[in-house]
C-alpha cells in the first residue's frame, strides 16, 4: 500500500471521478449499509466500489472485497438466527463487522488512493468550503494511511523487544500504551512539521485565491453514479 499513497493521479487510468461524487457516494453507501434498506438497493450501492476498483486496475482488492462481502452477507442471513450463546456473539461480531463496515472502508480506500490532495482541495474550493474545514480534512485523508503504516512499524519494533500482546502486557496495559504511543506521537509531530513546511512552499498559506492545474468537474460518469446513488437513497427512504 505504501507505494500507492505516493502516486499522483497521472499514473492512474483516465477514468476519473470528481472527489465530490466520491464523497456523496460514500455518505449514501454508509447510510444504506447501516440502515434498513431493501436488499436489492443495498446491493446495487455495495457493488459501486467494486466496479470502481475494477476500472482502476485494482482487481485483487475488488475481488477479495466482493467475495468476503457475499460470504458475510450469507452468513448473516443464514447462520446468525441458527446459533446461540458465545458462538452467536462471535458470528455476529464477524459478519456485522464485514457487512456494515467493509463497504464504507473499501469506498474510503478507493477515495484515498485515487484522490490527490490537490484534486481534493480544488474541488473543495470550487464548492466554496472554507479552508478552515477543508485543510484539516485533507490532512486526515492524507495522513491516515501513513499513520497506520507507522503503527505497524512500531508494533514490529516493539515485538522484537518482547512487547506485544502476551500475558505480561495484560498485567500492565498502561506501560504498553506508553511504549506504543510515545514513539508514534513523536513521529507524528515531526511529520506534521515537514508537511506544513512542504505545503507552505507550495503556497498553501497564501491569502489570495489559488489556481489549480488539475481539472475537477462533473462528467458523464459522475452523473451516472450520482443517479444510481440518489435513486437508491430514495428507495431507502420510501421503504423504510
Amino acid at each position: 500500500m505504501n507505494s500507492e499513497i505516493l502516486q499522483s493521479s497521472n499514473t492512474i487510468s483516465n477514468f476519473k471521478i470528481d472527489p465530490r461524487t466520491k464523497i456523496i457516494v460514500l455518505v449514501i453507501l454508509n447510510l444504506m449499509v447501516f440502515g434498513e434498506a431493501p436488499l436489492y438497493a443495498t446491493i446495487s450501492m455495495v457493488s459501486i466500489p467494486f466496479f470502481l476498483l475494477l476500472f482502476n486496475k485494482r482487481k485483487k482488492v475488488a475481488l477479495i472485497y466482493i467475495s468476503a462481502y457475499t460470504l458475510a452477507l450469507l452468513g448473516e442471513i443464514f447462520l446468525v438466527p441458527a446459533t446461540h450463546g458465545i458462538l452467536n456473539l462471535l458470528i455476529v461480531m464477524i459478519t456485522n463487522l464485514l457487512v456494515r463496515m467493509m463497504p464504507g472502508i473499501i469506498m474510503g480506500y478507493y477515495l484515498i488512493v485515487t484522490t490527490t490532495v490537490s484534486e481534493f482541495l480544488a474541488s473543495m474550493e470550487k464548492t466554496r468550503i472554507p479552508k478552515m474545514i477543508s485543510i484539516p480534512i485533507s490532512v486526515v485523508f492524507r495522513f491516515l494511511p501513513t499513520l497506520i503504516e507507522e503503527i505497524r512499524a512500531i508494533l514490529d519494533a516493539m515485538h522484537m523487544r518482547g512487547i506485544g500482546l502476551n500475558l505480561k502486557t495484560v498485567k500492565s496495559p498502561l506501560t504498553v500504551l506508553e511504549y506504543i504511543l510515545v514513539p508514534l506521537l513523536i513521529n507524528a509531530v515531526k511529520t506534521g512539521d515537514e508537511l506544513s513546511a512542504a505545503s507552505l512552499t507550495r503556497g498553501l498559506g497564501n491569502p489570495i485565491k489559488r489556481t489549480h492545474i488539475c481539472e475537477v468537474g462533473f462528467h458523464i460518469q459522475d452523473i451516472i453514479l450520482l443517479t444510481i446513488s440518489v435513486a437508491a437513497l430514495i428507495i431507502f427512504l420510501l421503504f423504510k
Binding site: 454508509n30 464504507g104 479552508k131 474545514i133 506534521g192
Partner: protein, 193 residues
Amino acid sequence: MNNKLNTKDLITTGIFTTIYIVIFFTCGMLGYIPILLVLLPLICPIVTGIPFMLFLTKVKKFGMVTIMGLIIGLVMFLTGHTFVPVITGLIFGLAADLIFKAGNYQSFRNSVIGYGVFSLFILGAMVPMWVMRDSYFVHMSSSMGTEYVNTVMALTPEWMFFVLIIIAFVAGIIGAFLGKSVLEKHFKRAGIA
C-alpha cells in the same frame, strides 16, 4: 500576533485529529463486548488523553479544538453513527475551546477541565440509546442479533445516562492527568512539547 488560524495550525489540527480518531476507534472496537459498550466513555477519554494533552501544547489560537470536534463527529457519522455526534462534537468542542481560551491556553487547571468537557462529546454516540430507545434497539437487533441487544438493554436503564455523563467527565480528568505525566516524562525531554 494575529489571531487567525494559519495553514500550519490547520495541518497540526489535522494530524492530531487523525491520531485521535485511530486511537478512539481502536478502543471503540471493544464495544462489541456488551459490558464494555457501557464502559467506553470511561476507556476512550483516558487513552486519548495522551495525544490530546500534546495537542494542547500546540494550540495557541481559538478554533482548533472546535474544528477537531467537528471532524471527529463527521467521521463518526460516516462510520455508521447517527448525526448526533456531529452536533455534540461541535458543541463540546466549542465549550472546551472557550475554557482553554479563558486560561490563555497556558493554565493547567483549565486544560484539565476543558478536556473533561471535550470528552463528553462521546455521549453523542450513545444519546439515541435513550432518546429514540425503541427504534434504536430495533435497528441494533437487525445488525447485532437479539442476544447482544438484550444484554445491552439490561445494562442501560434510564438513570445510567446521568452516570455516564459523570463517568465521561471524570475519565476526561484522569486522561488529562495521565497525558500530563507522559508529557513531562517524554515529550518535554525530547523537546517537542
